[in-house]
């Protein structure tokens, strides 16, 4: 399952870090952060609850870039 989220992030490097962090989160199969369109595309592993996973994703992202926002 793939979902797209709107994000808010100021710098391109931070976007890369967010992508890394999201990819490492449990339940996420793959993720792409698009700095230019300020969007994040997350592919979840089968049988995962997107909402619960995204909470962890947000936490992981906040860790690498405290200023970022993800619209859940």
């Amino acid at each position: 399952m793939k979902k797209t989220y709107k994000i808010e992030v100021d710098c391109a490097n931070c976007a890369n870090l967010m992508e890394e962090a999201t990819k490492k989160t449990a339940g996420v199969a793959d993720a792409t952060v698009n700095f230019m369109t300020q969007k994040m595309i997350v592919e979840f592993e089968d049988g995962q609850d997107a909402k619960a996973v995204m909470k962890d994703v947000l936490k992981a992202c906040k860790k690498v870039e405290p200023d970022c926002e993800i619209e859940l």
Binding site: N13, L17, M36, T37, P66, D67
Partner: protein
């Protein structure tokens, strides 16, 4: 400017004012330190906080950390040496923040500009309900509804015109400035702008399936596919920042130790620590990290405006290296509009032969079948035809009025062991056999596209080594077309599967760095489009299959756009390399100068912010594609 940016602007102004005043009034000692520290905190508190958080989260080496260490270090040095010169630490932080603000503003602005270029999303659809016009969300309009498009409005959904005539501006989709006229019965594509009359349109697709949604989706996802240069930069940044930090550490410790222990001189700790701090300031990788994706985004945006959709920065990169261009003939270099030009060697009446051919071909959507039906010109009674059997790459077998009819190329005749007579005319030849007897052949010719010749010449000028044409057509037709257009190599009489094989052969022959592009009309080329290094589909307006299979989509069917697409990608990549080289050269030069003690922290911060600003401005150049 958004809220965050405004806040930053105020902080910058307040700090600048504070520093100015503090430099004018004569204060000394602890009071001076406290006031300067206050100014420093106003401008830098968030950096310090982020750096602290980074350490807690074990992500030490980011630019916040670099800045925090450099400025706190500069402060400590000023206190230690008792010079009372705290300006430097504050100035570094101030310029760093100004740079960040500019970056965020410029990037935000260009992001908006580029997005606005591709703003083809319709806001509403006028739906007629109970005789009154209502504005509805395009998402909620059902298939088969009648919508009204007034002059000046965007066509919100794909459909068929039922009433009215108008000129449409398709430039947002195709980059083509010539308006397109539509009349009742014509297909109409969402995203065009109605310029003249009122149109009533019966929708044929839901919004999510409409052309405009497909394109928007494609554009929005395009920069998600990262190019090699982008991946290189992310990897580079990951290695580079820690490397510089350790370098700085070594610079602060090793030379003083060497001087003290081996050369018997004084250690000069403060000098070397200062140099190490300068080192840290120079090292921020921002200019690189920001300008590369921005260049690609601008390039993709500019191409989009010209009616060329590039599905990702990786394709932009591959396209710029295209040295071999392989064309499909029909619909790509020729118009794909066939006309029956002659009927030869017929034993039965010419009309009768055409009638049989049209009936046999009644189920096929191939352009050749269409042209035969058009030449027949009458309504087709499908009840007269049974047992239609299509043999791919050969032709059609069918029973018409109880007689066995075969219509196809010479291979089909050979297969059926029917003696056929070749034609002296150039064109596609459809041989006919009725009940196993040769019944004559139909000559069908196709017209070369108006700009095809120029397109091939332009490709050559753009540095393409070889142009190749693949076609299912007979050798003579193919050679004649290739000769008129100036194409280097021709392979004819290929079945769809042979095309893939030929492309694979060509792929194996060339070197790794030279890329092969395949250009097709996307109707039956999907396997080849995917197999080539880069697949280009033409005339994609309304054809979903082409949009899916290709990496680059040309919205109209002008072959000249191929050269333009390559030109755009080359320019974009040139800018990317310029930025990489420029940023790295300036950075390493400054690092060298900093280590030698020639560049101080002021120079360092100017180098950092300056390089970034220039790189961003350069990146935005990729947006200008009109003259390519």
């Amino acid at each position: 400017m958004n809220k965050k940016q405004k806040k930053m602007l105020y902080r910058i102004l307040i700090t600048a004012a504070m520093v100015l005043v503090l430099n004018l009034i004569p204060i000394e000692g602890v009071l001076q330190l406290t006031l300067y520290l206050a100014a420093y905190l106003v401008i830098g508190y968030d950096i310090l906080r982020k750096a602290g958080k980074g350490i807690l989260n074990r992500r030490m080496f980011d630019e916040n950390f670099l800045m925090a260490v450099a400025t706190v270090g500069a402060f400590a040095l000023a206190i230690y040496s008792g010079s009372g010169d705290y300006n430097e630490a504050i100035a570094v932080m101030l310029f760093y923040q100004i740079g960040e603000l500019f970056q965020s503003y410029a990037v935000g602005k260009s992001r908006k500009n580029i997005s606005a270029l591709m703003d083809i999303r319709p806001d509403y659809a006028n739906v007629e309900r109970d005789g009154k016009l209502e504005q509805a969300d395009p998402d909620e309009v059902e298939i088969g509804s009648i919508i009204v498009v007034q002059p000046g409005e965007k066509v919100p959904l794909d459909g068929i015109v039922t009433e009215g005539t108008a000129s449409l501006n398709t430039s947002a989709l195709t980059g083509e400035s010539l308006p397109r006229d539509v009349k009742p019965g014509d297909e109409i594509i969402s995203g065009c702008i109605n310029m003249t009359g009122v149109l009533k349109v019966r929708t044929t697709k839901a919004f999510g399936e409409s052309t405009v949604s497909k394109i928007l989706e494609l554009v929005e996802n395009s920069s998600s596919r990262k190019s090699k240069s982008e991946n290189f930069i992310s990897k580079f940044a990951k290695v580079y920042t820690p490397a510089v930090c350790y370098g700085a550490l070594a610079l602060a410790i090793l030379p003083p130790l060497v001087q003290m222990l081996f050369l018997g001189q004084t250690a000069q700790w403060s000098v070397w620590i200062y140099r190490a701090l300068t080192f840290l300031v120079i090292s921020c990788p921002c200019a690189l990290v920001i300008s590369i994706p921005l260049s690609f985004f601008a390039g993709i945006g500019g191409a989009g405006k010209a009616g060329i959709l590039i599905k990702g920065s990786n394709y932009m990169e591959t396209l710029s290296q295209a040295k071999y261009v392989v064309f499909d003939k029909t619909g790509t270099l020729t118009q794909g509009v066939f006309e029956v030009s002659a009927v030869h060697h017929n034993k039965m009446d010419e009309k009768k032969l055409l009638e049989y051919a049209a009936l046999a071909e009644c189920a096929s959507s191939h352009p050749i079948s269409k042209s035969i039906r058009k030449a027949y010109g009458k309504e087709i009674d499908r009840n007269r035809v049974t047992k239609i059997q299509e043999i791919s790459g050969h032709g059609i077998l069918a029973k018409v009025d109880g007689q066995e009819v075969a219509a196809g190329n010479s291979k089909l005749m050979e297969r059926l062991h029917v003696k056929y007579r070749d034609c002296h005319k150039v064109g596609t030849i459809i041989h006919m056999a009725v009940d196993g007897e040769y019944a004559g052949h139909i000559v069908i010719s196709d017209l070369v596209k108006p700009h095809a010749k120029e397109a091939v010449a332009e490709l050559k000028k753009a540095g393409v080594k070889k142009t190749v044409m693949l076609t299912g057509d007979a050798g003579r037709v193919a050679e004649q077309v290739a000769e008129t257009l100036g194409i280097d190599e021709v392979y004819s009489e290929l079945l769809p599967a042979d095309k893939v094989e030929k492309v694979e052969e060509l792929l194996a022959k060339k070197s790794e760095k030279e890329k092969l592009a395949f250009v097709g009309d996307g109707i039956n080329d999907a396997p080849v489009l995917t197999r080539a290094d880069i697949g280009i589909a033409m005339g994609a307006m309304g054809s979903d299959a082409a949009i899916e299979a290709a990496d680059v989509v040309l919205m109209d069917d002008d072959p000249q756009k191929i050269a333009k697409a390559i030109g755009i990608s080359r320019k974009c990549l040139r800018i990317v390399y310029q930025n990489i080289v420029f940023a790295l050269v300036v950075k390493f030069a400054c690092l060298g100068l900093g280590a030698l003690g020639i560049a101080n922290m002021w120079a360092a911060i100017f180098a950092d912010v300056g390089v970034m600003i220039l790189a961003i401005l350069n990146a935005i150049r990729a947006l200008r594609v009109q003259n390519l």
